[in-house]
């Protein structure tokens, strides 16, 4: 009798759990499917075979163990840029500058990777990662401080800082930090030392595990610490935060610093784990993808991991698709934009699925010039 009640209660909570999970993932899932369908229509219109294209896309991303490893490798920096954007969203800030923070992180970690010599591998990797992360954090502090003290919208300042970051990194990679060995004329830094390389276990890059750990830390910080509570309160209502005695300006700056820190790690991992040096043009778009990923993942650290794997898979499979099916890989950008549209315009999907909005907190961004 007692036992039966227990199992019934267990079943009840289990089905409740499934229901709540379904509420959260229904809309992103539908958004992804709708985007893929419209992408297919676009492919047909432009004279390609969508089944062939998507098959090649899947084969190139999950088809073999090697392909899967490539997907995870592509997903790793994306998890970080997704976390960076999502964390800023929680404080009502739109960090479009994850791209610039990521670039500086990539460059600085490359510099630390080839300039510092004679360190044991573990220490060297840690140091190079931290250097890149701190570069990103400092670059993120600028729009944070401007927002907090002058009210300048972080949306525009971060976009402008992206261009500044491109110029700074281009200058360094083509000037003081340029690789001049063997008559190289391409703008790039020398390769990092072996001691600074992040290894792989089999096909799976170690950076991916780090990304999972950092996601857990971000989740813990946001929902289990006072700082996280302050960040979320500032996002939900800056006025309420102010009148309950929270330091709003400080929280805004801190959020942007952490956000830049995360984006910086993303860039560093790309440099230390994949590219092996800094070369302009190799990290394009990783920061912008963070926006799509953060929203697809409902700005929740644990939602961001699958979202990043999905976008990473599209990146990993894109060249196979281009090679096997002759479809330009930019179609994945279009599909991404459509995903972003449908996941944000969830009203459309909710009407189609007839579900109520149960998923996650609503994102409200502060508009122009509010302090």
């Amino acid at each position: 009798m007692d036992n039966q009640a227990k199992t019934e209660a267990g079943n009840q909570s289990l089905s409740d759990w499934f229901k709540s999970v379904w509420h959260v993932i229904a809309i992103p899932l539908a958004a992804v499917l709708l985007a893929l369908v419209i992408g297919a229509i676009l492919l047909i219109v432009s004279g390609a075979n969508p089944i062939e294209a998507y098959a090649a896309l899947i084969e190139g991303s999950f088809g073999t163990m090697k392909a899967f490893g490539r997907t995870l490798a592509k997903a790793t920096p994306l998890i970080f840029s997704g976390l960076a954007v999502a964390l800023a969203f929680k404080a009502g800030l739109f960090n479009i500058g994850a791209q610039g923070q990521l670039l500086l992180g990539a460059l600085v970690s490359a510099a630390a990777g080839f300039l510092i010599k004679g360190l044991p591998p573990f220490l060297h990797v840690t140091l190079a990662l931290l250097a890149g992360a701190i570069a990103g954090a400092l670059f993120g502090a600028i729009p944070g401080a401007l927002k907090a003290y002058t009210g300048a919208s972080e949306v525009i300042t971060t976009i402008m800082l992206n261009y500044v970051a491109i110029n700074i990194t281009d200058y360094l990679a083509d000037g003081p930090l340029k690789d001049i060995s063997g008559g190289n004329i391409v703008a790039r830094t020398p390769a990092i030392l072996d001691s600074a390389r992040i290894p792989s276990i089999g096909e799976i890059p170690v950076g991916f595990f780090l990304a999972i750990i950092v996601s857990i830390i971000v989740w813990f910080t946001l929902w289990r610490t006072t700082t996280g509570f302050e960040i979320r309160t500032v996002g939900l209502s800056p006025h309420a935060a102010k009148y309950s005695g929270m330091r709003v300006a400080f929280t805004v700056i801190l959020t942007m610093v952490i956000s830049g820190f995360l984006a910086g790690i993303g860039g560093s991992i790309e440099t230390l784990g994949i590219v092996g040096r800094y070369q302009p043009g190799f990290n394009t778009g990783l920061g912008f993808d963070g926006i799509t990923i953060a929203l697809l993942g409902k700005t929740h650290p644990f939602g961001i991991i699958p979202a990043a794997i999905l976008i990473g898979a599209m990146k990993a499979g894109a060249s196979t698709m281009q090679f096997n099916a002759g479809v330009a890989k930019e179609i994945t950008d279009v599909i991404q934009a459509l995903m972003l549209f449908f996941v944000t315009a969830d009203m459309i999907i909710r009407k189609m699925l007839r579900t109520k909005d149960g998923g996650g907190e609503k994102i409200t961004l502060s508009g122009w010039g509010q302090k």
Partner: protein, 341 residues
């Protein structure tokens, strides 16, 4: 411009004048000073700088007009960049197919208007967060233009300058102002038209009312949704024209991501111009001038890495934004979707 709330003590009119116009006068005087000094040194360079000022400012002022039409009716448009880019691309493609420049310009405008419609649908009907809505447009434009772009296409000709006879012979200013291609002239006209519409017509009054207090406007029988839709679509059309300017008038071909942040700089121009078309024009000219001088600096044998000169416009945008946004009065309902009761 600013509705004065009850002031504690009357400020002397002289001080008020300085407070209101001081920055504008200072900037104008210094630009004029630099120009005259330069004209004395080398007249040819001056004419080149002024012509380049106008050229550089055109897409910025058009983008700013797009932005302020939207925001005066309380829709933030952060997708100007994408609207420009798609306008540039479609105009370019249509020109490659038809060989007709006029049709191509209209294709640009239409594309921009369609993107405006999409933004209006997202922000007015779906009540999406407007900043994310604009970002959707930007990413979509990057993806679509990247996907359909083929290397090696060029337009069949560019829009050529039309000289306005004797006016073009006026020293210093003549060649820069009265010897321009059509879209540049259209920009001069548009600035005046938008200014007139916003401040001297019923439509403009309603637009501003919707931007400040939509509920009150609604109560008085103004159709808030319609006002927002029309303004955002018109803005999109203007941004599309800016795109057409880039491919059909300035460059003559298309490159990936060729707008290069101009849509965002236009937003700074709009803020700097305090949400007025004439102010935006002045701000755009200032940006254009800074850019033109930067090009001259690159020609001159100055030992600064070109990347540092290249980042000047973006740094300038940040400085202006952080210095001026606090002093600009933003439409009260800006960015807030309207819910009918």
């Amino acid at each position: 411009m600013q509705t004065t709330t009850s002031l504690p003590a009357p400020v002397s009119p002289w001080k008020r004048f300085i407070k209101r116009w001081g920055v504008t006068i200072f900037i104008t005087l210094s630009v004029v000073g630099v120009t005259i000094w330069q004209y004395a040194v080398d007249a040819r360079v001056t004419e080149a700088v002024l012509a380049s000022t106008i050229r550089q400012s055109t897409p910025l002022v058009l983008g700013a007009l797009c932005g302020l039409l939207g925001e005066r009716s309380a829709v933030i448009n952060i997708g100007i960049e994408g609207q420009m880019l798609l306008g540039a691309f479609v105009g370019f493609l249509v020109n490659v197919w038809t060989g007709n420049l006029l049709v191509a310009v209209f294709a640009s405008i239409l594309t921009g208007a369609l993107m405006g419609l999409l933004l209006a649908y997202m922000s007015v009907t779906l009540k999406m967060d407007q900043i994310i809505g604009g970002t959707v447009i930007n990413i979509l434009a990057l993806g679509l233009t990247g996907y359909f772009y083929q290397v090696g296409l060029t337009t069949q000709g560019k829009l050529q300058p039309i000289s306005l006879g004797p006016l073009a012979d006026i020293p210093i200013l003549g060649p820069a102002i009265f010897n321009n291609p059509p879209i540049t002239y259209a920009t001069f006209v548009l600035v005046i038209v938008v200014h007139y519409v916003l401040f001297y017509t019923k439509w403009g009054l309603r637009t501003r009312a919707v931007g400040e207090h939509p509920r009150a406007a609604d109560t008085l029988g103004v159709n808030v949704f319609k006002i927002r839709y029309v303004n955002v679509i018109a803005g999109g059309a203007i941004a599309g024209l800016a795109g057409g300017f880039l491919t059909l008038e300035a460059v003559g071909s298309f490159e990936r991501a060729m707008t290069n942040g101009r849509g965002f700089v236009a937003l700074a121009v709009m803020l700097f111009g305090k949400y007025t078309p004439l102010g935006a024009w002045g701000a755009a000219l200032l940006f254009g001038f800074a850019n033109a001088m930067q090009t001259q600096l690159q020609f001159a044998d100055i030992k600064v890495a070109h990347q540092f000169i290249g980042m000047l416009p973006y740094v300038l945008t940040i400085v202006i934004l952080s210095g001026f946004v606090g002093r600009t009065r933003i439409p009260a309902a800006d960015g807030i979707p309207y819910e009918k009761e």
